[in-house]
């Protein structure tokens, strides 16, 4: 079995980073999370805009935040709550603690306000960081790796250079016993029959068909006769004739192996191999879902050039053209544009695999170097109340 140098976690998973995360249970706690982060910049804040004011998505958001806390790249967690919110800090902390990592929580209304909570938080985080620094990387089996796939700011060559070469890397990891998560179901529209054909059994095939049909129905209900052109005029100008053609260019980044499971947004896969997650095409929301699924590393292909990363997961950027790679070299890790200049798909695929292995062992992707952390965007289906 091939290995990488990772952090073995008490629950049997393996991380490739050793972050201490601060998670607000509700948006009202973001200010305290920010105050602690300013004092202890090594900690990673997971700012988000939810935790209350919603009924329908409470389970979805709870699951997502808990799974981000459980994430193998996270060594310890401090949850900050307000007190009167729906998603309670104590509940998040107790569910995260089931993976046996250090987890603490503070509630602003119980502690007596911002300053007192911040002071206590700084002390807790500082202690967790001391413990985390004592942990060392050890050889971990490669089959523990989950790779998340994304594409954003696509251009006419995303589906010609970047995505097919990432597909080779996806096949490599699946063949090594690992897991790959493909998502963005709106970008699977028109290819459901092709994906269903690759399902390991009829149950998985039915789930694929249902998931894509629902994404398509939502698109149709909202856009009506414009639905076939959800690919947008820019894509038509770029040579894409239909949504299926665009979708084929999208799903090619997941390679060619059988699909073993379909999972909900923010859910961790229980199967290895190629897994589909029901998450939207909007990058920032689907990245949160895939990260919550436990992927230690993500690959993000881009044509127009998107610099975003994710707070606890290295995001490897693959550029579709040399022109964009050169103009945004500070943000791009791999140039798949060389394929347009006579380079081979296989060579770029091998370069991606080589870079993934380095990142697993600790090398930083550009998005990490730039600290492209931002804010967590959580999927929502309904308005707030």
């Amino acid at each position: 079995m091939e290995t990488f140098l990772g952090y073995a976690r008490p629950d049997g998973t393996a991380g490739i980073r050793n972050h201490i995360a601060i998670i607000p249970s509700v948006a009202c706690a973001n200010g305290v999370v920010a105050a602690i982060s300013r004092a202890v910049p090594e900690a990673v804040p997971l700012y988000h805009g939810h935790g209350c004011g919603r009924a329908i998505e409470i389970d979805l958001h709870t699951r997502t935040l808990v799974n981000l806390g459980k994430h193998p790249n996270v060594a310890g967690v401090l949850v900050i709550g307000l007190g009167c919110e729906v998603i309670k800090a104590e509940k998040l902390a107790s569910q995260i603690a089931t993976v046996k990592k250090p987890v603490e929580h503070l509630v602003i209304q119980q502690e007596g306000g911002t300053r007192k909570t911040t002071e206590k938080g700084i002390a807790i985080i500082s202690k967790m960081l001391v413990e985390a620094r004592k942990m060392e990387r050890t050889a971990c089996p490669l089959d523990q790796i989950i790779l998340g796939l994304e594409c954003g700011g696509s251009d006419a060559f995303s589906g010609v250079t970047a995505n097919p070469s990432v597909g080779l890397a996806a096949d490599w990891l699946v063949d090594a016993g690992g897991t790959v998560i493909l998502t963005e179901d709106t970008e699977m529209i028109g290819t459901d029959h092709i994906l269903a054909r690759r399902a390991i059994n009829s149950e998985v095939a039915d789930k694929i068909t249902k998931m894509v049909a629902e994404a398509e129905k939502l698109t149709r209900d909202l856009l009506g006769p414009l639905a076939p052109y959800v690919i947008a005029p820019g894509n038509m100008d770029g040579g894409m004739s239909s949504i299926r053609e665009k979708s084929l260019g999208c799903i090619v980044k997941a390679g060619t192996r059988p699909i073993t499971q379909v999972i909900d947004y923010g859910q961790a896969p229980s199967e290895k191999g190629l897994v589909l997650m029901d998450a939207p095409g909007y990058d920032t929301e689907s990245m949160t879902g895939v990260a919550a699924g436990g992927c230690q590393v993500m690959i993000f292909t881009t044509g127009r050039g998107n610099p975003i990363g994710f707070p606890i997961v290295p995001v490897i950027k693959v550029a579709s053209t040399t022109q964009m790679y050169r103009s945004m070299e500070d943000d791009m890790d791999i140039n798949a544009g060389v394929i347009l200049e006579g380079g081979s798909l296989q060579d770029v695929g091998n370069e991606i695999i080589g870079f993934i292995r380095k990142v697993l062992d600790g090398a930083q992707a550009k998005a990490e170097i730039n600290r492209q952390d931002g804010i967590l965007c959580l999927y929502t289906l309904h308005p707030s109340f």
């Binding site: 251009d155 529209i189 290819t191 076939p228 004739s241 949504i243 347009l340």
Partner: protein
């Protein structure tokens, strides 16, 4: 000379132009074969690799992306004007 199109899958009946290819200029495949472009093929658009009869499937990524609306000749530009995408979103 360098190829000016890319063929994504060996079963494909269209290739993708890597530059603007003018009418009568050569379409140059990665395997070295060439044939003339019958019309202007814009950068990043599709060019037919064979004669395609009306109603015949058109393949890219090794998969069906639609049917020919009209007869398409080798070297033609393939896009919404001659590619039927009616069944694309059912």
């Amino acid at each position: 000379m360098k190829p000016n199109v890319i063929v994504i899958h060996h079963r494909d009946t269209v290739a993708v132009a890597l530059e603007d290819i003018r009418q009568t200029e050569s379409v140059r495949l990665p395997d070295g074969t060439t044939f003339p472009a019958l019309v202007d093929i814009p950068y990043s658009h599709k060019v037919a690799l064979k004669d395609i009869a009306p109603g015949e499937h058109i393949l890219k990524y090794g998969e069906i992306i639609g049917e020919a609306k009209t007869g398409i000749r080798k070297g033609d530009w393939v896009h919404a004007h001659n590619l039927d995408i009616e069944e694309q979103v059912r």
